[in-house]
Amino acid sequence: MPKILFVEDDPFIAEIYKKKFESSQFDVINVTSGRAVLRELKENTFDLVLLDLVIPEMSGMEVLEELRKNDEYPKDIKIIVFSNLSSTEDREQCLKLGANGFISKTEFSPSEVVDEVNRFLRQFGEQEKNLARAGAPVAEAIEGQPSGKKRILIIEDEAVFVEMFSRRLRDEGYEVTSKPEGISGLQEAMDGNYDLIISDIMMPGMQGHEVIAKLRESEQGKNVPVIILSASVEEDHFQELTDAGIANKVFMKTQITPSELTYHVNDLLKAKA
């Protein structure tokens, strides 16, 4: 459960956000002044600090400066400035002082703020993972199961998506193959003995859901997890595809990042194992 330090002096506003975050499985500690922030951070660790700029005792900028300059505080504290002040100067100033991100209060509704915070957290997590990978890329590959690498097939006609999604999946340690249309995709899915299949819907040759439906009829493809990515399926039809046992998960391409897709792949494979 991510733990957030939420700096906000208005109890009414603080209450609303606290409720929002808690309903999204966050642990929220609310403090109302600059000194309280520093005190709290000396004693506890947080995944994220949401820092308002206009707070009693010290300004948000001063708090930021203190946190980054004073060695008593861990260097890797993630600080997101959460403020009404959103001029370019303010943002630049905050970044210079060591803020990790910026969420403008006026631009987001409370639930959108939660989404943004989630995104930042995921982003930070990924950044760390990527740093670690950059440090020891080969070692990890050997240390993992070299022959036991999970294999994924992407059936997708847009080369840019193949590149984008498979890059992230490979970073995660998967072996990725791709086919640019339905017919060869189906052949490959039948013969290749894949651990998971990701397919587009609108494709030349054979449509994605037909490919998967055919695959489901075969012995080899009966139980393989399938994720469908689509740019055209309307929300109401998502359920039908999953209900019909055609796909395990269906996502709108515009709504999913490569990392999010990767998490779902991880989930599906974990569940299978």
């Binding site: 208005d10 009414f12 506003i13 609303i16 956000y17 409720k19 009404n84 943002r91 630049e92 970044l95 060591g98 803020a99 990790n100 991100g101 910026f102 209060k105 006026t106 631009e107 509704s109 409370p110 639930s111 943004e116 995104r119 995921r122 982003q123 990924e126 950044q127 990527n130 740093l131 950059a134 847009e158 840019v160 998506f161 984008m164 999604f165 890059r167 992230r168 970073d171 740019a231 055209s232 309307e234 109401d236 391409k253 515009t254 709504q255 990042t257 490569p258 990392s259």
Partner: protein, 578 residues
């Protein structure tokens, strides 16, 4: 040929004298002259209006041959010169046949102007050769009957051309009947019927009277026979006025005035005294002037009517075009939006990869810029989704997921959602619920929430001070949701367009720039799919606005939980409360 060279015959002179006394000559005048003039006038008028039309050529032939016949007949009746009488008499047979032939030609080519094949023409013309050839010979007229002041006819010649005329008459009847049967529309049927009756009446009276006068020597019939032409002209006039036959534009008023003038003009022939003459002239002048004004005003009226018709035709056409354009536009949006998603997805995906450090560490400054890009890109994605939604709504492809819902719960959720926005702007947001809980209703909660959310969001956006009330009421058989603000209000002229696509009032652009102006439009069709209504009320600019959503407790459009959209785009919202 012996035309009897005594040129001026005493007997004839006395014959005419006695005719005058018996009023016969008056009758000759009255039956011949006006009819002749009327026939010629009509023939030439129609011909000159449209000289290339075969039908009007045929009509001219008919009126011309008829006029000639009448003219010679008139000469026979009024002349005292045996040579004039004899030569006039000799051409009657030919003219009689010519009348029949041109009548046949007329019915054959009317109303479509399709000429008849040449060989039929030749076939029809062939029997006329002996009539022409023997006309000046004694085979036609044997001699002159001095006692009766008339020619003695060869019955063979007369029988021949009457028989031929009779055959032609039946052919004409046949053509009319066949044409009537083959006519494809009612207007054509009516035109053929009218022409057929007119021609038949004319020919029947003409032939019958000629026949009777020839065989029974009772020439008075002949005069009455000529009135068949008048009947024909009446039918012709009606055809022209009503059906624009012969492609002539003639107004009923014009035809009427013309006929009236003609009838009054005839009176001149009977003007026996100067007083009669002056009275006739005065009447004619009066009719002329009154007719002129009548025609002018009717013409004006007709012109206006035609213009109006043209305008409304244009309007209907333009409307049709607009509808097509709107469909094309929705399709375009749908396709374009789909195509737009691909790059948007790539941008989102790659931005996230860069931000996550997949391509190496990112400096804070770059990360901040990419964060902004990421957010903006998400907004763009949302906008594309909105556009797609609209085209889906217009194509009737939105699905509703109706389920038992408490509106109060939705209201509470939204109040929570917007509490902060309100607080930020120093506005109040108050919710008031009915004392007695509303019954559970079958609605699509997400859609209704979206509608309410949109209106509340707008209310907060467009309210600089004061606040927003969210009221849920029991309206008897329906739930009423009222969102009342103290904001900038709505101009009366904007109120009607508020729920249209892409509309944002001018005032609103000043305060906020986001939003494509789709919200209310989409919301309206959502509410209508629930059998409900949504409308706006405002006292005017600066006086706040009220948005009212009414949803029936029992949704008339729900069958099994999921329904297709029923009324995609009903016409403009009713304004009974505005």
């Amino acid at each position: 040929m012996d035309y009897n060279l005594i040129s001026t015959l005493e007997t004839c002179a006395s014959y005419i004298q006695s005719g005058k006394e018996a009023g016969i000559i008056d009758l000759v005048l009255y039956s011949h002259i006006p009819t002749l003039i009327a026939a010629l006038l009509a023939g030439f008028y129609i011909f000159l209006k449209n000289p290339k039309s075969t039908a009007s050529q045929a009509l001219l032939m008919l009126s011309f041959s008829f006029s000639l016949w009448t003219f010679f007949d008139f000469l026979i009746w009024t002349s005292t010169d045996s040579r004039i009488i004899m030569s006039s008499w000799s051409v009657l047979g030919f003219l009689n046949t010519a009348i029949l032939l041109s009548a046949l030609y007329l019915v054959a080519v009317f109303p479509k102007n399709k000429d008849i094949p040449l060989k039929f023409k030749a076939l029809l013309l062939l029997p006329i050769v002996p009539i022409i050839a023997f006309a000046p010979t004694s085979l036609n007229l044997i001699g002159f009957d001095v006692m009766n002041c008339e020619a003695t006819e060869n019955s063979l010649y007369v029988n021949y051309y009457y028989l031929f005329s009779l055959v032609l008459f039946f052919i004409i009847l046949g053509i009319v009947i066949a044409k009537y049967k083959r006519a494809t529309n009612s207007s054509e049927k009516k035109q053929i019927t009218l022409l057929g009756i007119g021609v038949t009446l004319f020919l029947l009276s003409f032939l019958l009277s000629g026949f009777l006068s020839s065989y029974f020597d009772f020439y008075l019939f002949e005069f009455y026979g000529l009135f068949g032409m008048t009947a024909f002209l009446v039918f012709l006039g009606y055809l022209v006025v009503r059906f624009k036959a012969f492609e002539v534009k003639l107004l009923g008023a014009q035809a009427l005035v013309l006929a009236l003038l003609l009838l009054i003009g005839v009176q001149f022939f009977y003007a026996k005294t100067t007083t009669d003459f002056i009275l006739d002239a005065f009447t004619t002048l009066l009719v002329l002037v009154a007719g002129y004004f009548l025609i002018r005003s009717v013409a004006m009226e007709v012109k206006r009517k035609e213009e109006l018709q043209k305008l409304s035709d244009n309007l209907a056409h333009a409307n049709e075009r607009l509808k097509e354009l709107d469909t094309a536009k929705s399709e375009f949006i749908s396709i374009a939006s789909h195509q737009l998603r691909t790059p948007l997805t790539a941008i989102k995906g790659y931005l996230s990869l860069i931000l996550e450090g997949s391509y190496g560490p990112v400096t804070p400054a770059i990360q901040d810029v990419l964060d902004k890009l990421y957010i903006v890109n998400n907004r763009l994605t949302q906008l594309v989704e909105d556009l797609l939604n609209v085209s889906r709504i217009e194509a009737g492809r939105i699905q509703y997921n109706f389920q038992p819902t408490h509106l109060e719960a939705l209201a509470a959720e939204l109040t929570d959602m917007f509490a902060l926005n309100a607080k930020d702007k120093n506005l109040y947001l108050k919710m008031s619920l009915p004392k007695k809980t509303l019954p559970e209703m079958m609605v699509d909660p997400n859609k209704i929430k979206e509608v309410m959310q949109n209106i509340i969001d707008n209310a907060l956006k467009y309210t600089p001070e004061g606040g927003v009330d969210l009221i849920v009421e029991n309206g008897g058989d329906r739930a009423r949701i009222i969102i009342k603000d103290t904001g900038i209000g709505i101009k009366p002229e904007d109120k009607e367009h508020l729920f249209q696509k892409f509309l944002r009032s001018k005032e609103t652009t000043k305060m906020v720039v986001s939003g494509a102006g789709l919200g209310l439009y989409v919301g309206k069709s959502f509410v209508e799919a629930h059998g409900g209504k949504v409308w706006a009320e405002s006292e005017g600019p600066g006086k706040g606005s009220r948005f009212i959503i009414e949803l029936p407790f029992v949704n008339p459009k729900v069958k099994q939980g999921v329904s297709d959209q029923v009324s995609a785009l009903a016409p403009q919202e009713d304004k009974k409360n505005s």
